[in-house]
């Protein structure tokens, strides 16, 4: 295999594996802020033990995120040296900003979050929880800004020619707020919130089914359902605005999402299959709906793939599938959480074991959504690495051979497989152990304080 395929595989594999963890830290961070906030507000020990339990899970997830994240920092240089020279001005500064403004904040307060329960006041601890969560969000901000610039470059000029050509910033804020930054960031963060909420939902529902930690489980289900419902509606909105933005700046990608070849009023497929050779798309569709979504007019033509030279089109069927699956998952979230909240309101939610059973397994869906959502976005950018400026095949490291990449790819494959197994084993162990019994702890505290009173 050639260096390009191997390097792309390695990047996709390592970023995909890494991206299991950050959405969970971002989303779980929000959940921790809510739980610990409830504890400070109510003084209820249940919230305290709940928070402590989830902080331990958070620490494990965070550790995995750190371990797999450091690879990403250096992989631009190792495998994509030509790209790195080309975009260093732009991309490097976003990475450096992530370090200075997000990672230091996150890692500093993480120490207090995890190890500081007995070292600082409960208010200071709550503040640390907020800061860690803020840090996790800020890190998403900078890396998504950098990634968005690769889709919709702005605020730069090209200096030099041929080998020496590179993008230089002339307007930093135009680079930061490039046309896709805000939409992509909103949609990414929404996905992370869903992931955190569904993690809590899944584990809480599991306890409920197993008849353990019942009060904690019920509270967990309630909080998670509310957050997940809000986040899933928010995703509908950000998803829509992302699609509108993609059409404006990367029309070939949007056409590929819907397998839309001829410039004509666009249909919206519910599901289907694209025959790339015959340039035909088959499936169940709502005629004119794509045009309606983009322009609120079912008759207005949408630019088709045929408007673009063959070598400037992304692979069509794969992102058609990932995109549609992502949308389907998003719709499921809205329906599932709305139903759950409705049943909660009617007071019948906790009588529905089938619902809890689905909830346990539902944690897989936001993960699948995150992964295939990114696949749609990034494969949709192909054949460009920086849209319209630099092609992926021209961005590789010149000094790295395919054998070397093969060695590192196999190593990453083995190590990450091992890590995944160990992570799931430890996560499972922690979940089986569960939160401490808050009633027992409260009783103990009372005994100690009555003893002291005597």
């Amino acid at each position: 295999m050639d260096v390009e395929i191997l390097s792309r595989l390695q990047f996709a594999f390592t970023i995909g594996f890494h991206y299991i963890f950050p959405p969970m830290s971002i989303g779980l961070g929000i959940m921790l802020v809510i739980m610990e906030g409830m504890y400070l507000r109510t003084g209820n020990k249940m919230y305290e033990e709940m928070t402590k339990f989830w902080v331990k899970i958070f620490a494990l997830i965070f550790g995995m995120g750190v371990a797999t994240g450091i690879v990403m920092e250096f992989q631009f240089g190792t495998n994509w040296a030509t790209y790195s020279r080309f975009v260093g001005d732009v991309f490097g500064s976003a990475l450096a900003a992530e370090g200075i403004f997000a990672f230091f904040l996150e890692s500093g307060f993480l120490a207090i979050l995890v190890f500081g329960w007995n070292k600082v006041s409960s208010k200071m601890h709550f503040f640390s929880t907020i800061m860690v969560t803020l840090g996790a969000h800020l890190s998403a901000v900078w890396i998504v800004v950098a990634g968005s610039w690769m889709h919709t470059p702005a605020g730069y000029r090209i200096v030099g020619e041929g080998l020496e050509a590179r993008a230089e910033i002339y307007d930093f804020w135009a680079m930061v707020f490039n046309p896709s930054s805000v939409e992509r960031l909103s949609h990414t963060i929404g996905g992370a919130w869903l992931t955190g909420a569904f993690l809590v939902l899944s584990v809480s529902a599991y306890y409920y089914i197993k008849n353990r930690h019942i009060e904690t489980a019920k509270t967990g289900v309630k909080i998670a359902l509310i957050v997940a419902f809000i986040a899933s509606l928010y995703q509908l909105y950000t998803g829509h605005s992302s699609a509108v933005q993609v059409y404006e700046y990367q029309p070939a990608k949007l056409a590929a999402f819907e397998g839309h070849y001829e410039t004509a009023p666009g249909d919206l497929y519910l599901f289907g299959w694209v025959d790339e050779e015959k340039q035909e798309t088959y499936g169940v569709k709502i005629p004119g709906m794509l045009s309606f979504m983009l322009f609120f007019d079912t008759e207005k033509p949408v630019k088709g793939l045929n408007e673009f030279p063959i070598d400037e089109r992304p692979p069509v069927n794969i992102i058609f599938q990932t995109y549609h699956l992502m949308v389907a998952i998003g719709m499921f979230f809205i329906g599932f959480t709305a139903l759950g909240l409705f049943m909660l309101w009617r007071g019948i939610l906790f009588k529905q074991r089938w619902y809890m059973f689905i909830a346990v397994f539902s944690i897989l869906l936001p993960h699948i959504g995150n992964q295939i959502g990114w696949m749609s976005a990034e494969i949709g950018r192909q054949p460009w690495i920086v849209y319209g400026l630099l092609k992926t095949k021209d961005a590789l490291s010149k000094t790295v051979s395919s054998d070397e990449v093969l060695i590192s790819l196999v190593m990453f494959g083995l190590i990450y497989l091992l890590l995944l197994v160990l992570f799931l084993f430890l996560l499972n162990k922690k979940i089986h152990h569960g939160p401490e019994d808050y009633k027992l702890i409260a009783a103990k505290d009372e005994m100690i304080s009555t003893k002291e009173a005597h």
């Binding site: 020279r85 370090g99 200075i100 910033i169 790295v400």
Partner: protein
């Protein structure tokens, strides 16, 4: 913005500060890891692990930020280094991954075999990180084959030359010394007695390596020596460095561990300062032709980026320092194991 300021020099210094911060801070936790297997029982190993528990992750951020800053300020250096040293960088990354998960996983299962396996992973990866960064540093000192196209074609085994390996071993010794002093600060009782004994041994190990490396540098890397010839005042740094090292056993003897720690931190600073002075203004010297070397001017980003980044640094540094100092303050004193510990 920042007229009259040579931002290329400024960024050379700032990246130096970040990487020195990394070496001083992660240096002690790598050192603690390198010595880990010398501790025999589980409770003491947990104490050692928890002495770095709240810190190691933040310490690693200095490397991550240093890497980001290098990418942004000197993209050609970042690209040539990372792609030229491909397999070595991959190896470092994998070792860093193993170390992070070893710390995280080790105490989460009661089984003795499980803990032993992760103890070994933790210790070997800690040694390997010091060794590999030292080897990289050694190769940067002697220069790498950077061509006219700014690329360096090297094989993994080219990196394993005797000089680079010597620098690698010296780095391991330095971190062990630094880590041993940190452990003395964080422990008490029998464990502290044990660790106190290691301080002297690691100092001897380090001094032997340091003297050998210095001689090798003067013989094999004459360009480093020529800087000292033309600027004899830099000898002062070398002398202060020796005094700092000599001060360590004295402070330990008087039970002033924190001062001993500051001395070894100063020693790391002095060594990296000498290195920076020796290579300046080059970042990667070419062994093919001096004019191919990547220096702070021909490998840098645009002035705008250097300005924007400098503003970020001015805003960010007070925050970074305040978090760092707060964390070290909150988790000061001897390690006590509790239900939040590893």
């Amino acid at each position: 913005m920042y007229e009259g300021l040579d931002l290329n020099v400024t960024w050379f210094v700032l990246i130096g500060v970040l990487l020195t911060g990394y070496a001083i801070l992660d240096g002690f936790d790598l050192g603690v890891g390198s010595l880990h297997l010398l501790i025999k029982n589980d409770i003491d190993r947990r104490i050692a692990l928890n002495s770095i528990g709240p810190f190691w992750d933040g310490n690693e951020v200095w490397l991550v930020t240093g890497g980001g800053a290098l990418f942004a300020a000197f993209p050609d250096v970042y690209a040539t280094f990372a792609s030229g040293f491909y397999l070595a960088v991959m190896l470092i990354l994998m070792v860093i991954i193993f170390r992070a998960v070893a710390i995280e996983f080790r105490s989460k299962v009661e089984s003795a075999t499980w803990r032993k396996a992760w103890d070994i992973a933790f210790s070997i990866s800690s040694i390997m990180i010091g060794l590999l960064f030292g080897i990289a540093l050694g190769n940067v000192i002697i220069g790498i084959p950077v061509g006219a196209d700014k690329e360096a074609y090297m094989s993994f085994f080219d990196l394993l030359n005797p000089y680079a390996i010597l620098v690698g071993i010296t780095t391991v010794a330095l971190f062990m010394m630094h880590g041993a002093i940190f452990l003395v600060m964080k422990t008490e009782g029998d464990l502290q007695k044990l660790v106190r004994g290691w301080v002297n041994n690691t100092i001897i190990f380090f001094v032997i390596c340091y003297v050998t490396t210095t001689m090798a540098t003067l013989i094999y890397v004459p360009q480093m020596a020529s800087v000292l010839k033309s600027h004899p005042e830099y000898f002062l740094i070398a002398i202060l460095n020796m005094l700092a090292i000599a001060n360590i056993p004295r402070e330990i003897f008087h039970g002033r561990e924190f001062r001993a720690f500051l001395s070894s931190a100063f020693s790391i600073l002095a060594l990296l300062a000498l290195f920076a002075i020796g290579i300046f203004p080059n970042l990667l010297s070419s062994t093919i032709a001096p004019e191919y070397s990547l220096n702070i001017y021909n490998a840098s980003s645009s002035r705008t980026t250097l300005e924007v980044m400098f503003t970020m640094a001015l805003i960010g540094i007070p925050f970074v320092l305040s978090y760092t100092i707060s964390i070290y303050w909150i988790f000061r004193g001897k390690v006590k194991l509790d239900n939040t510990s590893y």
